[in-house]
Symmetry: C2
Amino acid sequence: MYLSVDCIVFKVFCLLIFKMPIFAGHRTKCIWFLIPFSSFGQSLFLLDSRKRLKGVLMDVLWLTEEDVSAHLTMDDAISAVEKAFLDHGRGQTQMPPKSYLYFSKPEGDLRTMPAFLEGQDLAGVKIVNVHPKNPEIGLPTVMALLVLNSPKTGAPIAVMGATFLTSMRTGAAGAVAARYLARPESKVVGLVGAGVQARTQLLGLSRIFEIERVIVADRSIESAKAFAEYAKTFLDCEYQTTAGAKDACDCDILVTTTPARAPVVVKEWVKPGTHINAIGADAKGKQELESALTGSAVVVVDDMAQAVHSGEVNVPISQGVLRPEEIYAQIGEILVGKKPGRTGGANGIGGEEVTIFDSTGLGIQDVATGTVVYRRAMDAGKGIHLGFL
Amino acid sequence: MYLSVDCIVFKVFCLLIFKMPIFAGHRTKCIWFLIPFSSFGQSLFLLDSRKRLKGVLMDVLWLTEEDVSAHLTMDDAISAVEKAFLDHGRGQTQMPPKSYLYFSKPEGDLRTMPAFLEGQDLAGVKIVNVHPKNPEIGLPTVMALLVLNSPKTGAPIAVMGATFLTSMRTGAAGAVAARYLARPESKVVGLVGAGVQARTQLLGLSRIFEIERVIVADRSIESAKAFAEYAKTFLDCEYQTTAGAKDACDCDILVTTTPARAPVVVKEWVKPGTHINAIGADAKGKQELESALTGSAVVVVDDMAQAVHSGEVNVPISQGVLRPEEIYAQIGEILVGKKPGRTGGANGIGGEEVTIFDSTGLGIQDVATGTVVYRRAMDAGKGIHLGFL
């Protein structure tokens, strides 16, 4: 449908130009003049040949990973995720449990995450895989696709590559959690794990805190060094690299982003008053922090059901070291004021307490962040408009 | 990625043409010659400007409803759905329960249906809405989008409009069920409800049986007549139209496709040996057949969990008229031979028994049928290839 409307508009434009007195008797010039305005000309001149037209019935916007990267800033992601957590805290979200399909040749899974933010009237479904052997054939382990739907009509309005978006909304969640749970004067960030997730975690924290020093720990010291080099492009501060997770614990905010199935951080390494963003654990049996650490800290989760099932707390709970009712809050409850965050005083979490944010990743984060991208891309005239009906 | 390759190919093509001796000194002619080959020309001349390029990393094929309609025959759908039911009967499918998001302004819902056919190595997710008030603003009540994913890599490989496909795979399910449950010599089909679903139900049956007469019943006799007129385009036989559901029961195969919440067919109307495809009920509280009819018939469901929750059997079960263990089989069990179908003899369902197929619609039907469409469209060079990574 888009193409035919576009075509008619262009034809009318052509006819008007052909009739202009300035071109009378100069047909050739006329054609040369028209070419740059056509999609032919746009591809010929390497201009952006993507198309856009607002208000077409059942038009779906396609955004590639590249489009998404170009229209998503961490500040936007933080703001979107914070609003999503607020809605969650107010009970104004719908988020059925993630559905899993399990593959065996090769091993992998596909997760489907529908979500509806009632207050903001945003809905959609993220479909994301985890195929650990993909890198062997040159593909990413994780690839995500986000479909946004209109709650008013149910129609799909956008489909976008959501791998980068997933990483950004996870970084944003860590930043939002740290804003409410870390000591405000936090200056030193410790990272255990120096992969893609660590990048967006640090980027998120850098938008909230005045970071003076970052300690990057990775089993591969080369990875740690490469991370530090990359991180300097967005955060100018002192970097220390190490192969030992213990060294990274000498910090105010600790971020763990490993795929560990056995603890990589033990309780005695962690200083009083530290805030920990535990990002890595995303499936039953996964754990990054020693159970004794989780059992003794103030634990905040993103979503109780998901965290108990597959978050950092799943192992301590299965071991009986932590009871679900001992979990302090869902982050949304702190944002809406149902539970106090870290105030350093008598009302909230004390300055000496260790806090842990257990991030499992919520569909509402994806839908909220994806909607920002969709709006920015629409405003910029980016993406491909596809006919649907 | 696709666009830039396309652009380079077109530029090389232009350069070659410009160098051809025949055009020496005829620049203007040269441009006119080139235009039809450009996307500018294609839209100007209303040619199909859809693009395609095989072998691009992470290329996702976009198919509109129109593309899907053009590449899906009922025979293909029947074959795909039959294979899907076979896999289901062998226990080689994964189909987590449908997830629902519920909207209230206006009322509607969004259903997410992931499915994996292990034997055929096909996976995907259908996202489908039901917004009863959509027709007031000129939109369909139901709109579906199907995402196909590679089980090997998890990557999305196609996204397609799946509203027509949903109707076709439902018609195919009715046809497959009737093949195993109706008397082979069935000649008269009764339809209660004359909407879009009835069309594909009749189309499906017409591929399996030698139909001599169709009795179309709809509360609106005009709808029944319009249906008969339309049906004549694909099935040449005698048509009888009526406003009374009772009249339609004078048949060998009865198909109910209404959105009824109270029974529209009562037990005493139904003749011995009739097979009934109960298509309409798709949510808790919905029912088309009198509970006494369902309670006394041989009931076959597509999927036990879905049917008990939201199929035709949900109301009789909640009333205690039917116990889940009284359900004769899942259709897949009959296809693989675990349970006999209607043989008219001592081993299977007798010739005088009434059979009911309770169709709730399975994600495996969508994925199997969508894959056929994807392959046909790829072979025909149709659809838009979109860069993903």
